[in-house]
Every structure is written in C-alpha cells, then in structure tokens.
C-alpha cells in the first residue's frame, strides 16, 4: 500500500517537473532587460525557498525530539537538513550562474549572498557534527540543539534583502509580486514542483533510515541463530 503511494507521488513529481520545464521555456515570456538568461529565475527562486522550509522542518522536529525523545523525530530532522543542504548548494550554484551575466561578477559580498553562504556553512557543520558522534542518543540530542542554534541564520538570511539595501532583487514584497502574470504562474508551478520534490525526497530518506534499522534487527536475529 505504502509503496503504491510512493509510486504515485514519484509520478506526480516527474510530471510537475516536466510541466514546469515546458512552462519556463515555452509559456513564460522573455524578460526585456536580461533576456533569455532570466529563465534561471524559475529555478533559482523555488530552489532558494526550499532550504528555508527544510531547515524550518529540522528546527521543528529537533524541538519535538527534545520533548518526546523518539528516534523517528530525529530521523526527520536529519533527513530534512540533509536535503536542505543539497538544495542550498544548488542555490549557491545557480545564483552565481545568473549573477555573472547580469551583475558582471560571479560573487558579490552583499547581505543576501553572504547570509546564504553562512547558512550553508552552518548546516555543513550540523552534518559534520552528526558524523562525529557515534552514540545514537547523544547524536540526536546534540544535533537537535545545534539545529536550534543554526536556525537563527534562517530568518536573518530570509529578511536580509528586506532589512538592508542590496543589489539582490526582492520579488515578493508583502502581498504584491512585481512580475507579469504568466511569469508569476510559471514561478508558482515551479515552486509547487520543488516543494513536492522535497517532500518525496524527505519521505524516501526517512524510509531508507527505517529500512536500515530493520536490517540491523534482522542481522541481530540471524547472529543469535
């Protein structure tokens, strides 16, 4: 039953990504100032939102773990941080790819880029910490605490383009979006695909951990025999 749900979910993710790609290249109009290179926006923005979401999930499940002390909550926090970090790496790659033709530099030390980079380093630290603590309970407690500490960077990074003057564009101001309607629609579809994709990865990552546990249990049983 569960496998069936995952299959359907995987199919939906694949379909929505194909639809997003079609919309990016065939439906959304070419931007006047930047030209074709602006297409990377539909990838860069959704990909940039996912880490915020993922690290928020890590924070929430870290707190839940500290209260409930059940391994499954730590697993979700870990899985979400891992996926968030991979996708955040994509942000730090697509950003410079877009910045080079538009700003003329791969990298500029301005608030949004700097805070995103620091956020990336914090969650690299989070994963390194996990690798460095062999005992399971202790690892879960330590990483839950560091998951809380590291999350402080997330609102700072998110608000950086609202608090400070910067060259990084701000697309969503309060309720208004400064874009043509077809562009907004394309962006939203792309965002939807990435959120779905994130959810798929998260559920599979947690499932993988569970399977690993099952294997350990079976191994123990075999050794007893």
């Amino acid at each position: 039953m569960k496998n069936k749900i995952y299959q359907i979910l995987t199919f939906c993710v694949a379909l929505s990504i194909i639809v997003s790609i079609y919309m990016v290249f065939c439906y959304a109009p070419i931007e006047k100032n930047m030209g074709f290179v602006q297409k990377i926006f539909y990838f860069h923005l959704p990909v940039a939102i996912i880490p915020y979401l993922a690290f928020l999930v890590t924070l929430i499940f870290s707190l839940v773990y500290l209260v409930k002390r059940e391994r499954k909550w730590d697993m979700v926090a870990h899985a979400s941080a891992e996926i968030g970090l991979v996708i955040d790496t994509l942000v730090l790659i697509t950003g410079p790819l877009w910045a080079k033709p538009v700003w003329g530099h791969w990298w500029v030390w301005e608030p949004r880029l700097t805070t995103s980079f620091i956020m990336w380093l914090l969650y690299v630290g989070y994963l390194m910490l996990r690798h460095s603590v062999p005992e399971e309970n202790r690892r879960a407690r330590f990483s839950a605490v560091y998951g809380i500490v590291a999350f402080v960077s997330v609102p700072i990074s998110f608000m950086s383009i609202r608090w400070w003057r910067t060259v990084h564009p701000l697309v969503i101001k309060g309720a208004s979006i400064e874009l043509e309607p077809p562009m907004v629609l394309t962006m939203l579809v792309s965002l939807f695909s990435f959120v779905l994709f994130y959810y798929l990865l998260l559920s599979q990552r947690v499932r993988l951990e569970n399977l690993k546990d099952e294997v350990e249990v079976i191994k123990d049983e075999v050794e007893k025999v």
Binding site: L66, S132, R138, F142, V149, V152, I156
Partner: protein
Amino acid sequence: MRFFKSIMVLVQKDLALELRTKEMFNSMIIFVLLTLVIFNFAFGEVIETSDEFLGGILWVSFLFAAVLGLNRVFVHEKDEACLDGLMLVPMERSFIYFGKAIATFLFLSVVEIVALPIFSILFGVNLLLNPFLLLLVLLLSNIGIAAVGTLLSAISINTKARDLMLPILFFPVIVPILVGAVNSTRLILSASEFVADIYIWLRTMAIYDIIFLLIGFLTFEFIIEE
C-alpha cells in the same frame, strides 16, 4: 539568591583552577600576539597607512584566541569526570551553564584588556578616544562569545573530532558578533562622526547576546545529561 550563590561558587572554582595553572591565559595571550604579528606580515604597509583594518585585525585575533580558550572550557570536567560530580550537586543544570559562561567571559575579558595596550603600541592606535564605548563593545562581544562558545564547547568536547569540531560549529554562529564588533571598533578608533551608526551595531550585538543566552539556558541541560 540561591541562583547567584551557586553560580558564584562555580565561577570561583574555575578561577581558582586557572590561577593555579594559568594554562588558558598564557596560551591565549601569546596566541593574540602571534596573530597580530602574522597580520602585520599579511597586510604589510597597508596597515600603517590606513586605520580601516584595525578593527578587523583586533577582532580576528581575539576570536581565534577565544576558540583556543573555549576548547579548554570542559576539558578538565570531561577528562577527570568532574562533570559527573557537578551533576550530582542538587541544583539546576543550567547553573553549570551560567557558571561556565561567566568564567569564560572573565577569562576573555582579562586577555583582551591585557592585549589591548600592546595592540595600541604595535599599531600606533589611540585607545583613549572613547574608552567607555570601547569597553561596551568588549562587554557585548564577550557576552556573545561566552554564551555561544560555552554551549558549543560542551557539544564539541563530547564528539570524536573534539578540538576540530568547535571552530566549525562556532565560527558561522559568531559572525554577527564579529561584524558588530569589527564595525563599531573601526568607528571608535577612527574617531569619525559615528555616534548614530555605532548604536545600530551595539543594539544588534545586545539582541544577539539575549537570544543566545536564552538558547544556551534552555538547551544546555540536554547536552550534559546522561
């Protein structure tokens, strides 16, 4: 009342331990001086012609020395199993956090106050332009470093990588303090029209201190339990 009494006892214990060995103080102060010498070579004549770099040089030296000291905060407690003794004392676990953080804060402050005059002589800086603001910057930064550092030091001492883990966990978290301290020190030392600008940085550091003291207070017991 009991809160302050318990914490004072814990701080006194750490101070007594440090006064006997002076291992932390000696290595931190020498490390600051070494870093200043290295910066002198790294930047060369640029430092002599411009005072834009002074805040950065000073705070990077202090921060590196702080990591050196922070690595030692829980070494005795861990290696000689003193933490088990502390945890048997009938008091809140968070008292241990505040005791350690206050001791760390004092060590940092002493090192910095000894190092500042030397820095002033080596780089020809007048520290007396606005000594009270400078002390306020030291106070706010040291609270931040001690609040975050004590928490992360308790984590890193229990990892396999130990000393290697602390800088990786600590430096990205401490960035806001570094930015605030560097900018306000630069404004103070260059004696420009700064009064309005500096308060933004001081306020940022104060907010940071409050947030991380709170996080440390609430989460420390999860780290040392077992």
